[in-house]
Every structure is written in C-alpha cells, then in structure tokens.
C-alpha cells in the first residue's frame, strides 16, 4: 500500500444521510475479478441516466469537481453490504478521504485497508463544513494524518480520531497481511493447543 501523505484538496459535498454501499457501487458492478476501473461506476445510479449519460444535477457531474480528493457526506456513511468494491470505487475515482459524523463498521475497516481515510467529525463541525461548501463550493481543506487534523480555510484546525495501529499502517504503507504472516509461530502454537 502507498504511504498516506498530507495534502490539500477542495471538497465534494454530498449531504445525503445513510449513503449505503449499494449507492456507492450497485451490485451489478460486482461481477469483476479485479479492482480496476470501478471509479467509473461510483454512485452510478445517482450519476447516470438509464441511457448512460451523466445526470447534470448530480454533483460529481459538475466539471469543477474533477480531481477533488475529499468527499463530505451525511451521517452514517457506508452502511449495508460488506463489498470492498465501495472503497475501491471511491479511490478509483480519486477520493482519499470521506468526512462524516459516523461510518458503518465494515466500510470503515475496508477503507483503512485501501488508503481511504474515514474522518469522523462532530455534528457542529460537520454542519459548519457543509455551510462553508454552500457559501463557497471551492472550499478546500488541508488533511494532515500525522497531526490528525483538518485545517479549515480560516486556519482553524479540527482534530479527528483514528486508532494508532491504522494510523501507523497508513502513514508507513504497512501491509497488514504481512504483519500477521509474521506471527506464524504464535498462530501455530494457538492451533496446537486448540487441537
């Protein structure tokens, strides 16, 4: 996995609550046997008409949103299916962080393993971020994982939580499977006491 670095980006604001993983990537796109190209189908049913043309109202179809790495979403993002295709689609599109007040457990785990940072903020900060985007759709944030901060345009810094292990893995690009593979002796010992 690539190391997670500090960066600045403008925000894509999607105020919908309870965005489930079926909306992030509908099931008909899960027939793939690799992880490539899923970004094209991100939010497919909200993004495209039946004829495949983009819906002009949907935020990702506004030309100026292209290249933005931060998604600001409503409460309880990523509920439902365990499909890892959801973070694959989000990162495939170019997102590196999603900001919400809460995330579904499986989605959160899947995101952390794919270099997509789920950032939890409190309700006030969440509402403030949406108002900033409403006032100025080009609002940008600086994300610094080392310091665990978001920096708002006025310079105010907001702390966000992340467990130490996930942070270390993201910052250093650590492969979690490699970490557990190195515990082979302990696993073998556990298996022999079990048998």
């Amino acid at each position: 996995m690539e190391k997670y670095t500090a960066y600045n980006s403008k925000i894509v604001a999607l105020p919908n609550e309870n965005v489930d993983t079926d909306q992030i990537i509908p099931a008909r796109f899960l027939k793939v046997t690799d992880k490539i190209g899923l970004g094209d189908n991100l939010f497919s049913d909200w993004r495209y008409n039946a004829d495949g043309n983009p819906k002009p109202d949907f935020i990702l179809n506004h030309g100026e949103m292209k290249g933005r790495a931060i998604l600001l979403a409503g409460d309880n993002f990523g509920s439902g299916s365990s499909r890892e295709h959801a973070p694959w689609a989000l990162t495939g599109y170019g997102f590196r962080a999603v900001i919400s007040t809460s995330f579904a457990d499986i989605f959160r785990n899947n995101s952390l393993k794919n270099g997509l940072l789920p950032i939890i903020v409190d309700k006030d900060t969440h509402a403030q971020l949406f108002s900033l985007c409403e006032e100025d759709p080009d609002t940008a944030l600086a994300i610094d994982l080392t310091a665990q901060t978001l920096t708002l345009p006025d310079g105010r810094k907001v702390q966000f939580p992340i467990d130490g292990f996930s942070k270390t893995c993201l910052l250093n690009g650590i492969d979690e499977i490699g970490y557990v593979l190195h515990m082979d002796e302990k696993i073998t010992a556990f298996e022999s006491q079990d048998a």
Partner: protein, 469 residues
C-alpha cells in the same frame, strides 16, 4: 468475573494482542463465495502463498448464479467468468466447493448451507465476505462479515486483526401474536432504534420471545443485525440449538458430541455480566411489519401510515424522508394497506429456509396469485428445495401461479438477472430496501414470508392476520 457470550468466545480466540494494536483473532470457519473472493485469491498468488487452513474453508456460489434451470448455460459473461474463477481458485487451493457442478446437491446461499451442513456451531468464530454472516450468530457463534482484504488475510493466516467491539443486549419480552413472526421482531427493532444504532456493537438477543424461536427464526433475527448497524448478532445456545445441529454432516458424533454439548452449555452469558448498551422490544403488542422507505429502519406496522416529513424536527432526517418517499412515490400519511404491488419475492438468506416456505405455502394453498403480480419463490439451498418438493410445497406454489426457482441470492441483490423493472413495487422477504437494490429504479417493501404471501394473493399490501385460517 461474569462474562457475556461474546466475551467468552472472543477471549478464547485471541492469538496475540500487542499494546495499542488490534487483537489477532483466530477464525474457526471461513465461508467463501464467488463475488468477494477473486481478488483475495489473486493476492495469495501474488504473494506465492497457500491457504493456511483449507480444512476450515468452504465455498459456494450464490450471488451471481441464475435461478432458472441449471441446464441452461450462464448467459452473463462476467458472471460466468466469476463463477469459473471460483471453481479454479478452490481447486488450486484445495478448498471444498458446493458449486453448480461440484457437490451441487449441497449448493445454496452461504448463510443457509453453513447451518444446514452443521458447519456452523456454538462458540465458533465465523467470517465470510458478506455482511449477512451475522446470521450464524443464531447458534451462539461470533460471526460477522468482512471485506475482500480481510478475506485474503483469513485465507493467508486463518486470523483477523480486530478491535474488540462493544456489547449490546437486545431484549425482546412477551409473546408474538398469531401472524407475527421473527422477521417482524427484527424489522421492529431496526424501525425503533435506526440503522446506525448498532454501530460498534455486537448484539446479543435475549428475552422470552427470542428463547421460544426455533433455529430458522433465530437466524432471521440475527441475519438482519447488520441492518441495525451491528456486525454481529448472537443468541445463547440451548437445547433448541443442539437439537438442530445433532446428526448434521459436520456435527460432532458419538463421544465427541457429548463433549461438545457440555462445552456449549458453558457459553451463555453469566448472571451479573454487563453490556455496554441495552435495547428492548415488547413482542406482545407487535404487529406484522413493513418498510415504506429506502433503508430498513424506515418501517412501521402494516396497519400504519407513511410518516409525514413535516412532522420531523431534524432537517437532515426530514430531507432523507422526503428523498425516500420521492423514490418510493408514496405520499405522507397514506395507509400502506392496499398499496398495489407488481412483484413478490420470497427468498434470500433472511427468509428462504423450509419454515419460511411452509409459512408462505400455508397462506397460498388453495388460492391463486393476483394476475397483476409476478411471484418468485427462491429456496435458500438445493437441500431446502428438495425438502420443499418432498412436502409438495412446490406444487402449492405452482398451482397458485407462483414461480418455483433454483437456489441462490436471486432478487435480493439482483446480480443474476432476477430484478425489478424501474418503477415496479415489490414485497420482498429479503433484507435491504435500498434504492435500486432489487433492480435500478425498483421499489421494495420488506416484510415477512406470511405478509409477502398474503399480498401475492391480493395484489396489494395486506395484513396477513385477515387471511389466516
């Protein structure tokens, strides 16, 4: 110190626990299906490693397979490729497959066949790349859904990195009235507490209304724990559990059985153990439930009305309800009874077991499906299908005008061609009413097999209690 069921299983499976790191948790049983595993097997190939415990890993195909005749080749090239990939991967890595060609008599929805084969047993840790793995918690197992990276980790190491979740007791007291079933319990819990209430928790369902349920009903309840936000839902094992498991293919036999049961009897939560949160529901006053919106928490009693967004104080909740009712094309305050439907789907890992089919058949026997409604009955496994046919349920359904299909996930996830057309309304015994879940533009009402069967006959949302004989 008194412990909960969850804590006993968790503590017995921690292989290592470094400070400030998640636990390395040993996994007893890993179930695999075609959709969330190809990239994980590819990961093993790239590392040049084998599956650590193929003897603890079992695979089936369910999500993408057609449910029409098995003699017809799979028309969808991508689905066919994914299915072929699972055949290749399981053969290469030495994993037992219950597929369309291999051991086909035991193929089925992964959460139906695990219990059916006796693979699912009390005290186990069980994972699968599917969020409805919570189903197996009905046996007093710790069982939850994982992503594909985690599938790769379990294939590689038979372990998972896990932070210890919190525990929540979900207490259901009282007694269900006639026509009200397990599906209504779980829909009511989610309607009462919302789809995010269980985030960060493992649910343990307790109380007399849970204790009296049979294993298939308990599976229905635990299945939808994830719809309440909880990755896992559990029910303490008891004689009902042991009777279900006894004699199944992978169940311990002879002296091993007695030893296993005596261990399983130690699993229930100790008196005095505490939970981090408590939720509760009164079964006495429960009526058949139905959803009206686009998440499983948007539900009400079947005699209820669609809520009015104007009554909601919270702006974001109001907007969410307006959006949901717009998608569903329902009006605030309209009654749900009498709402016309186009499709009835009876199936899925929530409600496709033999008792679900018996419930549906009891309502449909001697009656005809409304001519405006397409009714699909999809058994959860090849074994359920055989059992239903031996009892003559297939004839009840066919004579009523319903379609009797092959086993699979079918229209619950609509990956296999079984899907709603845009704008169609369905009553579905599945678990998710998300936008487009059963087909792009399709509109889903979640309900029990009884409510679904009653509505199939009338062609409108119906209170099954008016039709019970």
């Amino acid at each position: 110190m008194p412990q909960t069921l969850f804590e006993k299983i968790w503590n017995a499976h921690v292989v290592a626990q470094d400070a400030d790191s998640p636990a390395v948790l040993y996994i007893d049983l890993h179930l695999v299906h075609e959709v969330t595993s190809p990239q994980a097997f590819e990961g093993l190939r790239n590392r040049g490693i084998k599956v650590r415990r193929p003897d603890r890993t079992y695979a089936t195909m369910d999500h993408g397979i057609p449910t029409h005749s098995r003699d017809i080749p799979i028309a969808d090239a991508l689905a066919a490729k994914q299915i072929a990939q699972l055949e290749t991967n399981t053969a290469e890595f030495g994993i037992t497959l219950y597929g369309l060609r291999q051991n086909a008599e035991k193929q089925g929805i992964v959460h139906v066949i695990g219990p059916e084969l006796g693979l699912t047993r009390p005290g186990m840790t069980i994972v699968c790349g599917d969020s409805h793995t919570s189903t197996h918690g009905a046996f007093g197992a710790l069982s939850f859904g994982i992503g594909t990276s985690e599938v790769e980790m379990v294939l590689s190491t038979q372990c998972l990195l896990q932070r210890k979740p919190g525990t929540a007791q979900v207490r259901v007291d009282g007694k269900l009235q006639k026509g009200v079933v397990a599906k209504d319990i779980i829909l009511a819990i989610i309607a009462k507490y919302g789809i995010g209430a269980g985030t960060g928790y493992v649910f343990e369902y307790t109380g007399e209304a849970i204790r009296i349920l049979n294993m298939e009903e308990r599976m229905t309840v635990c299945n939808m724990s994830i719809e309440g936000g909880a990755r896992a839902g559990m029910i303490a094992p008891d004689d009902t559990t042991f009777e279900y498991i006894a004699g199944r293919e992978f169940a311990p036999k002879g002296a091993n059985w007695d030893k296993a049961v005596s261990e399983w009897r130690k699993l229930p939560t100790d008196d005095g153990a505490t939970f981090d949160a408590t939720f509760s529901l009164d079964a006495d006053t429960l009526e058949p439930m139905i959803t009206y919106g686009t998440n499983p928490g948007m539900g009400t009693g079947v005699t209820g009305r669609v809520p009015d967004p104007a009554q909601l104080a919270d702006l974001s909740q109001r907007n969410a309800l307006i959006k949901a009712l717009g998608y569903m094309n329902l009006k605030p305050n309209q009654p749900l009874l009498g709402q016309a439907i186009d499709v009835v789907f009876i199936g899925s890992c929530t409600n496709s077991r033999i008792s679900d089919l018996r419930d549906a058949a009891a309502v449909m026997k001697g009656r005809r499906v409304n001519p405006n409604v397409r009714v699909m009955i999809v058994p959860g496994s090849a074994q359920v299908k055989r059992e239903a046919e031996a009892e003559g349920l297939d004839r009840v359904f066919s004579e009523a005008g319903a379609e009797w299909r092959e086993a699979g996930c079918s229209m619950c996830i609509a990956m296999n061609g079984d899907q709603l057309q845009p704008g169609q309304y369905a009553i579905s015994t599945s678990n998710r009413n998300f936008e487009g879940r059963q087909g792009k533009g399709g509109r889903t009402f979640l309900a029990s097999p009884l409510t679904a069967a009653a509505s199939a006959i009338t062609g409108v949302v119906t209170d099954v209690r008016t039709m019970l004989r």
